[in-house]
C-alpha cells in the first residue's frame, strides 16, 4: 500500500511485530514503520471492536495505539523505532493490575 521514497538512504532497524521481525528505518515512527511494512490493521477498537490503523500521524487521533515493549495504549506515531523493539497490535482495552 505505502511505498518508501527511492532515494532516502537510512540505517535499517529491526523490530518485531506480534513476534514477526520487520525492517524499519532509523527516524521512522512506530506507526510509519507498521504502515511501510504493510500492516492494514494495527488495533481493534476498545469500544466497537472495529479494525483500526494509523490515521493522523501527528499525535491527535489515537488510532495508532499499539503495545510497545509491554506498555499498552502507546501512540505509535509518537514513538521512534529502536533496534529490537517489541510491538504488539492491540486487541481491546489495556489491562492494569493493582
Amino acid at each position: 500500500m505505502f511505498k518508501r521514497l527511492p532515494d532516502c538512504p537510512a540505517t535499517a532497524v529491526i523490530l518485531t511485530v506480534d513476534g514477526r521481525a520487520i525492517e524499519a528505518r532509523e527516524g521512522d515512527s512506530v506507526a510509519a514503520a507498521l504502515l511501510a511494512a504493510g500492516f492494514a490493521q494495527t488495533r481493534q477498537s476498545a469500544v466497537s471492536q472495529s479494525p483500526r490503523a494509523p490515521y493522523c500521524m501527528m499525535g491527535v487521533c489515537f488510532e495508532c495505539m499499539v503495545t510497545v515493549d509491554g506498555v499498552a495504549n502507546r501512540q505509535g506515531c509518537m514513538v521512534p523505532v529502536r533496534e529490537g523493539m517489541r510491538i504488539e497490535t492491540l486487541r481491546g482495552r489495556r489491562e492494569i493490575s493493582a
Binding site: A46, V47, G92, R93, R94, E95, I96, S97, A98
Partner: protein, 377 residues
C-alpha cells in the same frame, strides 16, 4: 404575523435542551403534549456535556431534607427511565446502581465525613436510608487496590452512575420520536404573556405555547423575571481528568473516581467560583490526580487522554428550584445542580405535575420563595 418571522403554536415551550430540559420535554411528550424545545447552539456552555455522570444519593440534602427524599425517589425511578429509553431508542445508557463510596485519605477526613453523615441523618423528616461508615478492612472487600493512605470511607447502596452522554443523546432521540420540535440556536430573548398564552422570541422567530418551562441552567436567573419568577444562581467551575481505556478494575463509583462503561477512568470533584469554562487550573488538576493516585496507586500508570473545565449549574443555596409563577400561571422554573441524578424524577414525576398544571405540595420546599428572607429590623 410579521414578515420574515415564523409562528408556531405548542402546548408547552421548554427553554433549554440540556439534560434537565430534555428530561422534562421527554416526560411531557410522553403524556401527549405538543412540545417545542428552544435551545442554544453547539457553543453553549453546557453542563450536560461536562458532568461527572453520577446518580448519587448519599448525603444530598443536608440543610433541606426534602431534597434527600426527592433524590431517593429519582434514584428509585431511574431503572424505569433507563428501560424506557432503551426500548424507545435502543440506546443503553449503562445505568449501574451498585452502591457508591466516599473515600477518606486521613483520619481527619473520615471524622469530617462521619460528622456530616450524622448531621444529615439527624435531620427531621429526612429520607430513611442507610449510609455506612466503613473502616479500611471493610473497604478492601469492595474495592481491591486501595492505596496505603486510605483509612476508610462511607458507602450507600443507592448510589450509582450512568453514561451521561448517551443519556443526553437518548433523551433527544426519544423526545423527537414523540414529535417534540427541537430548535437549536434559538436562545430565548423575550417572553410575553398574553390572553393565557406565552409568546417567546427566540432565534428570529416567535413561538406561542400554553405553558413555558424554564430549564436553561444558569441562564434561568435572567429568564425567570420575565415571567414573575426568580432563580438566584451561583455557578461553579469544576475540572475533570479522563484516562485511557482500560479493562474494568473498579466495580463501584467513588464520588471522585469512576470507570465508565467504555473503559476510561474519570477523575474529578473540584469546585471553584466562576463561569469562564476556558482553560485549566493546573494546580487543581494536580490535586485531583494526586488524590486519585493515593486512592488507587495503579492509576499512576495510566495515560491521561483528556482534561477539561466545565460549569456547574448551581442554585444559590445548592438545592433545586421548582416553582410555578403566580403572576404568570403556566410558567414554571426548573433548575438544579444534579441533572443526571434527577433526570428520572424530572421525566417521570415532575413532568406529569407540569402537565396537570400544578406542582405537588411535596415540592413546596423547592419554591424560590425560600430566598425571600425579611430584612431583620
Amino acid at each position: 404575523m410579521s414578515v420574515g418571522a415564523q409562528r408556531d403554536d405548542f402546548d408547552v415551550a421548554v427553554v433549554g435542551g440540556g439534560l434537565v430540559g430534555a428530561a422534562v420535554a421527554y416526560g411531557l411528550g410522553r403524556l401527549g403534549n405538543r412540545v417545542v424545545v428552544l435551545d442554544e447552539g453547539d457553543m453553549a456552555v453546557r453542563a450536560s456535556r461536562a458532568n461527572f455522570a453520577l446518580v448519587w444519593v448519599q448525603s444530598k440534602g443536608l440543610g433541606m431534607p426534602e431534597y434527600a427524599g426527592w433524590t431517593v425517589a429519582s434514584a428509585e425511578a431511574w431503572p424505569e427511565l433507563a428501560e424506557e429509553l432503551r426500548r424507545e431508542t435502543r440506546l443503553d445508557v449503562h445505568l449501574e446502581q451498585t452502591g457508591g463510596f466516599h473515600i477518606a485519605l486521613s483520619e481527619a477526613e473520615l471524622e469530617a465525613r462521619t460528622s456530616t453523615l450524622k448531621r444529615f441523618h439527624n435531620q427531621t423528616g429526612v429520607a430513611q436510608y442507610k449510609t455506612e461508615i466503613l473502616g479500611r478492612a471493610e473497604l478492601d472487600r469492595f474495592l481491591p487496590g486501595l492505596g496505603p493512605d486510605v483509612v476508610g470511607g462511607s458507602y450507600c447502596a443507592l448510589d450509582g452512575h450512568v453514561n451521561s452522554l448517551k443519556l443526553f443523546r437518548a433523551l433527544h432521540i426519544a423526545m423527537q420520536a414523540q414529535g417534540t420540535k427541537y430548535l437549536a440556536d434559538h436562545a430565548v430573548t423575550a417572553i410575553e404573556h398574553d390572553k393565557g398564552a406565552f409568546r417567546l422570541t427566540a432565534g428570529g422567530r416567535q413561538v406561542v405555547a400554553g405553558k413555558v418551562v424554564l430549564a436553561a441552567g444558569n441562564a434561568n436567573q435572567h429568564l425567570a423575571p420575565m415571567v414573575g419568577l426568580k432563580a438566584p444562581m451561583r455557578p461553579e467551575r469544576g475540572q475533570i481528568i479522563v484516562t485511557e481505556r482500560v479493562k474494568p478494575f473498579l466495580r463501584h463509583p467513588i464520588v471522585t473516581i469512576r470507570q465508565t462503561d467504555e473503559g476510561t477512568v474519570m477523575l474529578g470533584d473540584s469546585k471553584e467560583e466562576g463561569t469562564d469554562p476556558v482553560g485549566l487550573n493546573l494546580g487543581i488538576s494536580s490535586t485531583i490526580a494526586s488524590r486519585a493516585v493515593r486512592t488507587f496507586p495503579v492509576l499512576g500508570k495510566l495515560n491521561v487522554i483528556r482534561s477539561w473545565r466545565g460549569i456547574r449549574v448551581m442554585p444559590a443555596d445548592g438545592f433545586p428550584i421548582y416553582e410555578q409563577s403566580t403572576s404568570h400561571p403556566g410558567a414554571f422554573v426548573v433548575t438544579c445542580h444534579s441533572g443526571v441524578t434527577l433526570a428520572a424524577a424530572h421525566a417521570l414525576k415532575l413532568a406529569p405535575m407540569i402537565h396537570a398544571g400544578q406542582l405537588d405540595e411535596t415540592l413546596e420546599a423547592f419554591s424560590a420563595r425560600r430566598f425571600d428572607v425579611q430584612a431583620f429590623a
